[in-house]
Amino acid sequence: MPLTPPVIGRLLVANRGEIARRVLRTCRDLGIETVAVFSDADAGAPHAAEADHAVRLPGAEPAVTYLSAAKVVEAALRTGADAVHPGYGFLSENAAFARAVLDAGLTWIGPPPEAVAAMGSKIRAKALMAAAGVPVLPGFTAGPDRSADDLERDVRALIERGPASAGRRALLVKASAGGGGRGMRIVEPGGDLAAAIESARREAEAAFGDGTVFVEPLLERARHVEVQIMADRHGTVWALGERECSIQRRHQKVIEEAPSPAISPAARVRLCHAAVTAARAVGYVGAGTVEFLVADDTVAFLEMNTRLQVEHPVTECVHGVDLVELQIRVAEGARLPEAPPRATGHAVEARLYAEDPGRDWLPQAGVLHLLDVPGVDVRFAPPPPGASRCLRLDSGVGNGCEIGVHYDPMLAKVVSYAPDRAEAVRRLAAALAGARIHGLVTNRDLLVRVLRHEAFRAGNTHTGFLTEHDLTAAPAAPAESAESAVPLSALAAALAQAAANRAAAPVQAGLPAGWRNVVSQPRRTDFAEARVSYLLTRDGLRAEGLPDTSLVSAAPDLVVLETSGVRHRFAVARYDGVTHVDSPLGPVRLTPLPRLPEPAGRTAPGSLLAPMPGTVLRVEVKPAGLVTAGQTVLVLEAMKMEHRIAAPAAGTVSAVNVAPGDRVEAGAVLAVIEESGG
């Protein structure tokens, strides 16, 4: 890239978490001073600590912190920053913010506000693309002024206009301003479209301040393929190949890769051409992504994201570029070379979320005690030049970080780069499987199952992959080891605990653990997940239910057990209220139970407990009212998602303890239903 005099001396990152750290890393490499902003909830977050300067944005809710354009611009001016990088999410696709940054005399690391605005409305973007000759799906807008009758008519029109099968097709309701799967609803044939629109509107309104939604046919078994664009101010537009992001849950990407396993060189040329056309159509500058749905022969423009994408590292890996560096250089006025660097190898990224796939992807809040991915080569950076293999970790959280309810529960992105897809996938699966993740339930097991799934390895991916293959509860490891993983890990945890207890004993330090001259009963250690009962006799370990298991060694953090002649090491970590055991049998999370629990006030039967911390949105029942089984009692909003709390059985509402707007902690009794005829 031809050199231009650097103009940026101090850059403010208007974001948090891993992307903030990612931008900070490039700035440090470029010698640019950095400014971070942080909410009260992020006061101890790594991104705030790493920047040269950090400005507090009072409050925790995004609306008053990271989404407050005025406060962010003010922070930039106060710290003498001369440029603003928005990261992704938050204000990154907010044209008004881009304008405010430019109006304040600062350099905006992003496309012109006009391009942002043009693509910001998905409805407008579709029209623009159609006009430029980029293939689009038919659809209609359901603005706030549309009545149910209008909707009905539009749907009929859509069916008539669309392919012959469209009438039996499911429909997709999408927020025009949205992203990340928010404000999105699928309506199966015969489903309640009006209700879906209403619900999507509400979520879009809350998340983006714009309740406009549109409806289009749902392309089933389609692949999500997107092209990375990088454009300078001098008319050069690069298409840096495609990424495939088909593995999604609730319309949110989980695993992404570059290149797509299903795009032929010819198709790649067509897609890249369409993407460059799209970028040129709006006078695009900087990094952007043009998203397509690809199903059989159909290619349809989905939307253009006028920012850096979460999954940009896979493109960085195969092209050997630093996209943030290019963004900054382009913003400084540099010219891109005529052609982008060639792609080599294959990169796969997995997003590690604090969420429970087994419980409807429920986001998890709490302390992340440990995140340790083995074999990481680089952090926040492309592979070193010449490296044909690389494991990259981009994580915005540190050990001991509190994962709150206010922001996205993504803990880390783990990226594997290798000469070919099979190797990249295998390494990523191994890195995730071997990672020590303590304190929170995550989607790690699910990621490993996907990466090791036959269909995924064969490249048979589509956006309905996780619906077609229900991997939320399937065993990650061979059946026989999965079966004994919990009891063996619990035994290891008990033995490690005993070693720790001995090490911490204020008296009789050298005495054997649990020694008795008269043995009357086995030693017991209870976890919510398993009960451990064992004796250490002169002939060795005797563990109930594990007849062929012997103890090789036990230390407070490492226990070696031998089962049927095979030795395994169990790494044990204890935290307040939770014990994690990592071994080749798989990670096991255990909840130690107190031997002598305090007699607690028992929860009345029929109590509905908050599944997670959140805010009460609506209460749909009244005290003494009758409810049927499955009826919605109230709706809880948490992590920007609506969670329906339903009656477990028919009965009478005997208590409602909360009102709309109340913030509740996990486990709080929301309401009590007295079961009828019980």
Binding site: V507, R595, L596, P599
Partner: protein
């Protein structure tokens, strides 16, 4: 250094004999653990009660050691083995405590003469070593048919409680069930009292007695229930929801006792170099064959390191210094059974040295007594044996005694037998203890009888003599065995030789709760 040949026939035979005795010991312990048997255990559980040992397991710190004391109490008597009470030393919230738990499955946890002796011994241990005493109470009171053995000496149970308290040694009573009549004074005289709701019953006289005495129709719960004592009488400091809650509160009480050990803290611990398992093959089944106690010592002391005192003098008694679980100790161990004048003087000097250094002493007994015979009497064996007994009796450092083999005659005294109040005394299954060996005793009786017959001018009945000798020999042999003596509380328990280091380490740690008294005001006499 060990010279033990673990591949030899002797070793194998000794080991086999010891293992056979240990199997018997396990069986006897199992009888104690079984308590009142399945029927009463089930009945107790059905009422929601935990067993005595289950209560203890939940009370002590997880993964800490528990040394049960006098587990064979009552062995060979009309009462069940274990004497319907469990006593021992356990660690609660980092504090070594003496725990006494009634076994309600054995005749309602009632006190028999052996229960009383076992309970009194536990209180003595608490007092001597300044260990807090925790009573887990559920007892039906005294075994009335044997009240004559209990009533008068039994008053000491209550005296002990208040004397412990007066000495600043905390007493805690967790009342799980009945604690009536005299038993009411256990909570009454304890520093801290917890009662379990709807289970604890504490009153001087139950409803029938009240009815007889005053005509009042009293209801049990109103008369002495936990609620009443917690809210009205004030006898209970804490009202527990259930047994687990009582144990939880009990632990909390100990946590807040602000207990401090008075003795020195132990140093770092090193394991012996030789396998403790080899302790099984050292003591010959025939105690007439001597064995080298150094083979025992290297297997129980830290790093196997033993610094011998006067190794060339009085060689039938081994003396020297070592560390055991980080505690410095002086060890006296019989090498060839007999104590001569030299051994006696060496022992007396060594005991004085240990007193000057405030070092606890460990006695490893295998003695057939002081040497007899004209030469030895002329050499002053009585004088020298007396020196040794004098030194042992007046030594103020803690003594721990292990009877490994023979413990006959005054050797039992000189080597700190039960009457010399060692802080703890344990017995190996191979031990025997009597005034003299059974054959010798029978022989002495025979000689005396023969002499008496001759004096009366009668013929001696040789057939009768043989029968008498056999009978006496058998009786003395039986009465010199460890289970019998342990049953009568002449030790604190019969232990597996492989546990010796652990038991002594635990006892040395317990002993360290009390300060070591000043030694007598003389310099060490060179003997």
């Amino acid at each position: 250094m060990s010279r033990l040949d673990t591949s030899g026939d002797d070793y194998r035979a000794r080991r086999a004999a010891m293992l056979a005795k240990l199997a018997e010991l396990d069986a006897e312990h199992a009888r104690a653990v079984a308590g009142g048997g399945p029927k009463y255990v089930e009945r107790h559980r059905a009422r929601g009660g935990l067993l005595a040992r289950e209560r203890i397991e939940l009370l002590v710190d997880p993964d800490s050691a528990f040394l049960e004391l006098s587990p064979l109490a009552g062995w060979g008597t009309e009462f069940p083995v274990g004497a319907s009470v469990v006593t021992g030393i356990g660690v609660v919230e980092g504090v070594e405590c003496v725990i006494v738990a009634n076994d309600p499955t054995v005749r309602g946890g009632s006190t028999n003469p052996w229960t009383l002796r076992k309970t009194l011994r536990a209180a003595d241990i608490a007092l001597a070593n300044r260990l807090p005493l925790i009573n887990l109470v559920e007892s039906g009171g005294a075994d009335l048919p044997t009240q004559k053995e209990i009533f008068i000496p039994g008053g000491r149970v209550f005296r002990n409680l208040t004397r412990l308290s007066a000495a600043g040694i905390p007493t805690v009573a967790l009342v799980f069930g009945s604690s009536t009549a005299g038993g009411a004074y256990v909570p009454g005289l304890s520093d801290h009292v917890v009662m379990v709701r709807e289970r604890a019953k504490v009153f001087l006289g139950g409803p029938p007695l009240v009815k007889m005495a005053t005509g009042e129709e009293a209801e049990e719960e109103a008369l002495g229930g936990a609620e009443m004592h917690a809210r009205v009488s004030g006898l209970a400091d804490h009202l527990a929801d259930d047994e687990h809650d009582a144990l939880r509160i009990g632990r909390r009480i100990v946590r807040n006792l602000n207990h401090r050990r008075a003795g020195p803290a132990p140093g770092p611990v090193r394991e012996p170099r030789h396998d403790a398992d080899e302790l099984l093959g050292i003591v010959p089944e025939d105690l007439r064959i001597p064995f080298d106690p150094r083979e025992v010592i290297v297997r129980i002391v830290d790093g196997g390191e033993f610094d011998e005192f006067k190794p060339l003098y009085g060689t039938s008694l081994v003396t020297g210094w070592a560390r055991l679980h980080g505690h410095p100790v002086g060890i006296l161990a019989n090498a060839r059974g007999v104590l001569f004048s030299e051994e006696s003087q060496k022992a007396a000097q060594f005991i004085q040295l240990a007193n000057q250094a405030r070092t606890p002493l460990v006695f490893l007994q295998n003695t057939t007594g002081y040497m007899v015979g004209t030469d030895y009497e002329r050499g002053g064996i009585v004088k020298h044996g007396s020196m040794m007994i004098n030194a042992v009796a007046n030594s103020t450092v803690p003594h721990l005694t292990v009877v490994m083999g023979a413990s006959y005659g005054a050797g039992n005294y000189g080597m700190c037998g039960r009457a010399y109040d060692p802080r703890f005394l344990f017995t190996w299954p191979s031990a025997k203890s009597a005034v003299m060996g059974p054959a010798q005793l029978a022989g002495v009786l025979s000689i005396v009888g023969r002499a008496a017959a001759r004096a009366r001018g009668q013929d001696y009945d040789e057939a009768g003599d043989a029968a008498m000798r056999e009978m006496v020999e058998r009786q003395i042999e039986a009465e010199s065995l460890p289970f019998f003596l342990s049953g009568r509380l002449y030790d604190d328990g019969v232990i597996d030789p492989r546990d010796t280091r652990t038991v002594l380490g635990l006892c040395l740690s317990a002993v360290g709760n009390a300060p070591v008294p000043e030694p007598a005001g003389f310099g060490v006499f060179r003997m």
